[in-house]
């Protein structure tokens, strides 16, 4: 009964979305207040209905209702409650429903908090949001119905992929989707602005908090995913340039660019049409990310062709959203004239450089991710694009970006001198050069590039702190806006991420060896002893757990207990790593195959500064959230002070 109610709610939601996606546009075109107001009511109704549908599916999962096909395929009665709930979005249909839910919630938020928006703009934004909603709801209902029943109902389900039964991955998709879908609001604002033919300061003040919020969530989502990969995949890496990872990195890069260009629109009334274009691209890349992960096109082009309905639908939708957005842009963008003048060396110029480099990075990732598919389709040739390619193309492009990042905030708007900015940064520069030399001398004389990269990390932190200190010295600390404080935090945090990644990737120490219980070894200055390997019964798995005691100078230091779990339902093995961290380095252990007579394969890693990667990413998002609490953004859109857009001649 309840799954049918959920299904019904979803159908109603589609009907409401169709209304919301049409009548408010008519109202905005005719200036009919009642039709425009319909948008808000419909957005709230739609959100209520999708919440109902989502609750119905969650209920089916929590109560293990095995008459629902989706629950059978992805859940099991013996699964812990957390993973029953996360199982809701741990599969194709459920994750699309989560997408639709977040989209509807964002639409409701625009309706609720958008009372100070001009009526026609709000109506159009909600209309565009609804059209995106129609796309997803129809996709759910026609190709991926999560409420489909099976009869007769099997006694138990197939269980969730063991790799996904993990607290980190339970919350990874919702965070990621909050980011992806957040960009849909920005997209809706961009399309609405193109329809209205005007972009002004008030528009930018509306778009910035949405972009910022989406960006923060996306940052958290990516960091959580990378952390998960670090401790679950079991060889101490944290970023693999896997297409699934790249899919989330591309919208992040475009979103970061958008975040910065929106500042220029807000403060200087310039870069308008470029910002609108970025908003379209950021959401298109979010959709592309969803498409890549969801259509199966990555597994192989052929797997995609086996079950083409879903993939073709998303591809068509993607083309419609991107192509439609770009066509509208080509038609209307000439109306968006920026009349603010500025010199190349200026804050505006620095932000343009930021955008140029970030977009090139996004293009590089896009090419590297899609090229194998493209080549396979066009010529049938097979090519592999992996980490060595991205290390050779992506990483070098970060150098100019990081170098300029610390200089930009010192430049004045409109026209600036570069020499005084550099002079202020001389201490930061000296500190980072020393850090690079120390890194090269102390750790590894041959890895010059790693040492330089390490120096860049220090430069980002030192440069951001310098900017903060200069401001504080001028007595501007008390008047400093939250946005400025957030910027300092996020920029410095990027440096923390760089230090963590460079140190882990370059100076990791590894030991792989076979050990029998009672055997000892030396590793990274610690004595290691394998005490025992004992069997263990988990809620839905059986496991072998090794107990490794580590001693430091003869004194007991810590115990690591890596496990190897066999999930009985799926008959799948996964390794559960054991990590001891002191925030400066991780001691990381995994247990491989073996038995009592042969001994077990033990892998130990010493990962210097590894925790800084996720600490830094968290700080980076925190900076965004601090900036989000800025008074200017809370107060909302100010009154329009002047007609900002003149029709182009």
């Amino acid at each position: 009964m309840i799954p049918e109610l959920g299904h019904f709610a979803l159908i109603l939601a589609l009907a409401v979305a169709l209304v919301q996606g049409s009548l408010p546009f008519v109202g905005a075109a005719r200036g009919d207040i009642r039709l425009m107001a319909l948008g808000s009511t419909a957005a709230l109704t739609q959100a209520f209905l999708v919440i109902l549908a989502f609750a119905a599916l969650t209920q089916a999962y929590v109560t293990s209702d095995f008459s629902v096909a989706n629950v059978v395929a992805n859940s099991h009665s013996a699964k812990p409650l957390l993973y029953k709930i996360s199982g809701v979005w741990g599969n194709h249909e459920g994750s699309m429903l989560l997408w639709a839910l977040i989209l509807a919630l964002f639409g409701a938020a625009v309706a609720l908090f958008g009372s100070n928006l001009p009526d026609s703009l709000r109506a159009r934004v909600l209309g565009v949001q609804a059209l995106i909603g129609v796309g997803f709801l129809a996709f759910l209902l026609f190709t991926s119905n999560p409420f489909e029943r099976v009869s007769p109902a099997p006694p138990d389900g197939n269980g969730l992929n063991p790799l996904l039964q993990d607290p980190g991955l339970a919350f990874h998709p919702p965070l990621l989707y909050l980011g992806y879908v957040g960009f849909s609001v920005t997209y809706a604002f961009a399309i609405a602005a193109l329809l209205e033919g005007r972009v002004d300061v008030a528009w930018a003040r509306w778009v910035r908090p949405w972009t910022l919020a989406a960006w923060c969530f996306l940052t958290c989502g990516i960091a959580l995913g990378s952390w998960w990969a670090y401790y679950i995949l079991g060889w101490g890496g944290f970023w693999f340039w896997d297409p699934v990872e790249n899919a989330s990195l591309m919208p992040w890069l475009a979103g970061t660019a958008l975040l910065h260009s929106a500042i220029v629109v807000e403060k200087r009334d310039a870069l308008k049409s470029w910002t609108v274009l970025l908003a379209i691209l950021a959401f298109s890349l979010s959709l592309l990310g969803t498409f890549l992960v969801r259509s199966g096109v990555l597994t192989s082009v052929h797997a995609f062709a086996q079950d083409p309905a879903r993939g073709l639908y998303i591809l068509g939708f993607l083309l419609l959203v991107t192509g439609g957005g770009l066509a509208l842009y080509a038609w209307q963008a000439p109306k968006l004239v920026s009349n603010a003048l500025f010199q190349p060396v200026s804050r505006e110029g620095a932000l343009i450089l930021n955008n140029l480099l970030l977009c090139t990075l996004a293009a590089t990732v896009l090419l590297g991710t899609l090229y194998p598919l493209f080549l396979d389709l066009v010529t049938g040739d097979k090519v592999s694009v992996g980490p060595p390619f991205f290390n050779a193309t992506f990483v070098p492009l970060c150098a100019p970006l990081f170098a300029a990042l610390c200089v930009g905030p010192f430049l004045a708007w409109k026209r600036a001198e570069i020499a005084p900015a550099l002079a202020r940064l001389r201490i930061a520069f000296a500190v980072s050069v020393v850090a690079a030399i120390v890194a090269a001398a102390a750790i590894d004389g041959r890895a010059t590039l790693s040492a330089i990269a390490f120096g860049f990390g220090v430069w980002l932190i030192a440069g951001s702190v310098t900017e903060f200190v200069v401001r504080a010295r001028r007595g501007r600390l008390r008047t400093m806006t939250r946005a400025a404080i957030g910027m300092t935090i996020s920029h410095a945090a990027l440096g923390v991420v760089v230090l963590g990644s460079v140190a882990t990737a370059s100076w990791q120490v590894e030991m792989i060896r076979t050990m029998k219980p009672g055997e000892t070894a030396q590793f990274a200055g610690y004595g290691v002893r394998l005490e025992q390997v004992a069997p263990l019964q988990g809620p839905n798995y059986i496991a072998e757990r090794a107990t490794l005691t580590l001693t430091d100078g003869g004194k007991p230091y810590t115990t690591l207990t890596p496990e190897r779990r066999l999930f009985t339902v799926q008959r799948r093995q996964i390794s559960e790593t054991s990590i001891h961290t002191n925030l400066l380095r991780d001691l990381y252990a995994t247990l491989g195959e073996g038995d009592a007579t042969q001994g077990w394969t033990i892998r130990l890693y010493w990962n210097p500064l590894a925790p800084w990667i996720w600490l830094g990413a968290g700080l980076c998002a925190l900076g965004g959230f601090v900036s989000l609490t800025d008074r200017r953004l809370r107060v909302g859109a100010p009154r329009r002070s002047r007609p900002a857009v003149q029709a182009a001649e």
């Binding site: 060889w235 086996q306 190349p344 592999s384 093995q573 790593t577 491989g592």
Partner: protein, 153 residues
Amino acid sequence: MRRLVRVAALLLACSPAFATEPSEMLKDPALEARAREIGRALRCVVCQNQAIDDSNAEVARDMRRAVRERLAAGDRDEAVMAFMTARYGDYVLLKPPFKPGTLVLWLGGPLVLLLAGGALLLAARKRRAPEPPAPLSEEERARVDALLRRDDA
């Protein structure tokens, strides 16, 4: 469907964490370090985007062994790579070689940077020298004179 099952089975075989085994490793640590380095640049041919160094698949194990055999026989790193590509094709290189088929891949990023950067520079130059307004036509001049005269009056 059968094909999907096969793909899934292959992917299961690629489950990580049980990759390079101690029994495979070379005695000489310097040689083994080189083997690991090469292993990270070669792709396991049945896995999804995984280096042979990280893969548990049978093929990856064979490939790791082949790399170590060549190294133990005294081959240089480049010779080992050449041997592996001769055997499995360019497909195994995680960093694709620079050839006609990969021109777009390698040059796409720099091209975006150059084109966009060039366009920006041109735009900046144009902005620096704003065009002088077009001279008034006879008719406009007459109208301006008339208006000015009216203001004076």
